[in-house]
Every structure is written in structure tokens, then in C-alpha cells.
Point group: C2
């Protein structure tokens, strides 16, 4: 015997894998999935094309993982916003605001995550990502129903509606057809967009005028 995988190697491989992911992610952030080709990824990560395939099954797998990672960060932020002992409606408001606000902060990436056409495997991740948001919202709504701060309702569907309402409202503003697709929005622009969306969403869940 002569070669055995050693800790050093394991680490180096992990680093390369990570670098590939980061670069792929970077390409998506710059120009969406549309212009994230394996060759570009390899070039950017300073490895050969084939090396990408040593670390990932296929292009789809690679980008599914890119999507998943970008997504987990976002979902976690929203989940954090939902924590706390204050009333469910307040927590929901905070979380919804977080969701929209972060998207407007990084419009290009947000557009890719929310609306860019992607291949079916990645689309699967997108469904999961939206479901993840909805699940968190649903839990909060259920809390609210339980403690009486929200009226009885189909929490799952309400949660889905929340996700849809926000995502849809953001698609227009985020859309890269806008000249300024890569500039973040000013605080004022953000507020003007977010406030009415939140009004609608909270009224939808609470059934009372905001």
C-alpha cells in the first residue's frame, strides 16, 4: 500500500470543493444561473473543468447545492426573526420585513432565487425553499391561533399566501430588466415598497385593519 487519504488531503479537497461552490455562487450573484457555465466556474475557481466533476455529480447537483446554501442563510434569518416571546403578529411582521428587506439588499441574487428560470433539479430546491419559509410562518401562525392573538385559519395556506404575496411583489422591482438591477435600493425605496406589502399580509393573517 502506498497512498492513503490523509487529513491534509481531506482538507485540501474540502477547500477546493468550497472554492468551487463559492465561485459558482459568485457567478450566480453576478449574472444569474443563466451565465453560470461549468467552464466559467472552473476558470473562476482556478481548476480544470474535469475537477468540478470530481467534486460534484453534475452541473445540476452543483447548482442545486449553490441554491440550497444561499437559501439556508435566508431562511435562517427569517427563522431568527420569528423567535421571541412577543405576540405572533409582531413576530410575523418582523420576519416578513426581514425577508423583503434582505431581498432588496441583494437584488440580483434574490431574483435568481425567487424568479429566474432554472433547470428542474434546481427548481426542486426552489420549491423546498419556499416551503421552508412557509413552514416557519405556519408555525408562528399556529402559535398565534393557539394563544388567541390570531383568528382561526388554515395556517398552512395563509403561510403560503404570505410567501406568494411577498415574492410576487418583489419580482417586479428585482427583475433584471430594470437598468439598475445591480444597485441595492435606498432605505426610502425599500420602505415605500415594504410598508404596503406588510399591511396587506398582516391584514390577511389577522383580519383586522392595520
Amino acid at each position: 500500500m502506498a497512498y492513503r487519504e490523509t487529513e491534509k488531503m481531506r482538507q485540501r479537497k474540502a477547500e477546493v470543493r468550497q472554492r468551487i461552490l463559492d465561485c459558482a455562487s459568485g457567478l450566480v450573484a453576478e449574472g444569474g444561473f443563466r451565465n453560470a457555465q461549468i467552464n466559467n466556474v472552473a476558470d473562476k475557481a482556478d481548476v480544470a473543468t474535469g475537477t468540478v466533476y470530481r467534486h460534484f455529480e453534475s452541473k445540476s447537483e452543483l447548482f442545486a447545492e449553490v441554491f440550497r446554501r444561499a437559501t439556508i442563510r435566508e431562511v435562517n434569518k427569517v427563522a431568527e426573526s420569528l423567535e421571541g416571546k412577543d405576540p405572533a403578529p409582531d413576530r410575523l411582521e418582523r420576519a416578513l420585513r426581514q425577508f423583503a428587506s434582505r431581498a432588496l439588499q441583494a437584488p440580483a441574487m434574490a431574483w435568481s432565487l425567487i424568479a429566474e428560470p432554472v433547470d428542474p433539479l434546481v427548481e426542486g430546491e426552489r420549491l423546498a425553499y419556499r416551503r421552508a419559509y412557509a413552514d416557519h410562518f405556519r408555525a408562528a401562525i399556529d402559535d398565534g391561533i393557539r394563544d388567541g392573538s390570531l383568528p382561526p385559519q388554515d395556517a398552512g395556506l395563509s403561510a403560503t399566501c404570505l410567501v406568494g404575496a411577498i415574492a410576487e411583489s418583489l419580482v417586479g422591482p428585482l427583475s433584471p430588466t430594470r437598468q439598475n438591477a445591480d444597485r441595492a435600493f435606498s432605505e426610502q425605496q425599500k420602505a415605500e415598497l415594504i410598508t404596503p406589502i406588510l399591511t396587506f399580509c398582516l391584514q390577511g393573517v389577522t383580519g383586522t385593519r392595520r
Copy 2:
């Protein structure tokens, strides 16, 4: 001079064009844009591949038009539902119900229109289609604000939220990953889905418990 386009010819060409559109549309209804290749379209329409290109600039143009046509029908139905002299909230409810109900009646096509990944030109049509819905809803909301049957609000954003909330709620049920993707839903299934969605949507717009 010897040949000049005559009425008869103009008509025949229009027929072929129409047949191509219909067949393309049929393929989408059966298997989504994913399996609508130009060759299939040509075969189904009983013309040669090249003939398709005599009638349409490119694949994208063809399917953009397919999308537009499918879409106009739907939008018109919703617009019809919005007509009438009754209170804006009632008209909105009717229209939203129409929207959801029709989608569940033809799940495969609805999924393609709402959620299937498509190429950018067709995606452009999708944005237009969603905006068209939103514009109709917005007009009704503005009516309601004017006559006092709805509270003041950003009608445009509320309308967008309505579209998003419904579309998102339908994506799951319509998704072709479900075994029964091609069977329409029973009246009861439809009601169970639609009722809570409408509750959320109407509360969002009216700010009062439904």
C-alpha cells in the same frame, strides 16, 4: 409580374399558422413547454420543420405567442368576473375564485402558465400576464377605495399581492410531481383549497374579518 398574394392564399397561410399555434398549444397542455420541440410541433401540425419558421421568427416567438393566447383567455374571464355594479369586494371575490377555479380545472396548462421554467422571452410574457391580472384587480380595488367599500391602500401593490398569494397557493397542488397531475380536481378539493385562500386575500384587501 406573375404571382401576387391572393385572398385564398392569405387565408390558407393563416390556417397553417393557426394550426401550428394550436398544435404547439396542445403539446404544452399535454407535457408542458419542456417537451414542446419544434419538430414535435411540426409533426403534429403535419408540416415540415422549416414551415414553422416560415410562420414564426423562432421557437421563442412561437411559444411566446402560445403563451399570450392561452393567457388572454384566462385574463378575460377574470376581467368579466370583475364587471358588474355590485360592491368591489364581492366582485373581487368572484374574480379570484374564477382565477383559482379555472386553474384547478386545467392543472397541467395552469402549471405551465404559472410556474414552469421557460425561456426568457416567454418569461417576459408571463410577467405581462401577471401584470394584466394585477391591473384588473387594481382597477377594482381603486373602485372600492373610491366608493368607500374598501379602505385606502396602495391598490397596485395589493393587487400584486393577490396575484402572488393565489399563484403560490396553486403551485403546490398543480405541480406535475403529483401523480394525478392531469386529472382535474373534484369540486370538494377545489373548495377546500379556494376557501381559505380567498379568506386571506379578502382580509388582506378589506382589513376586516371574513
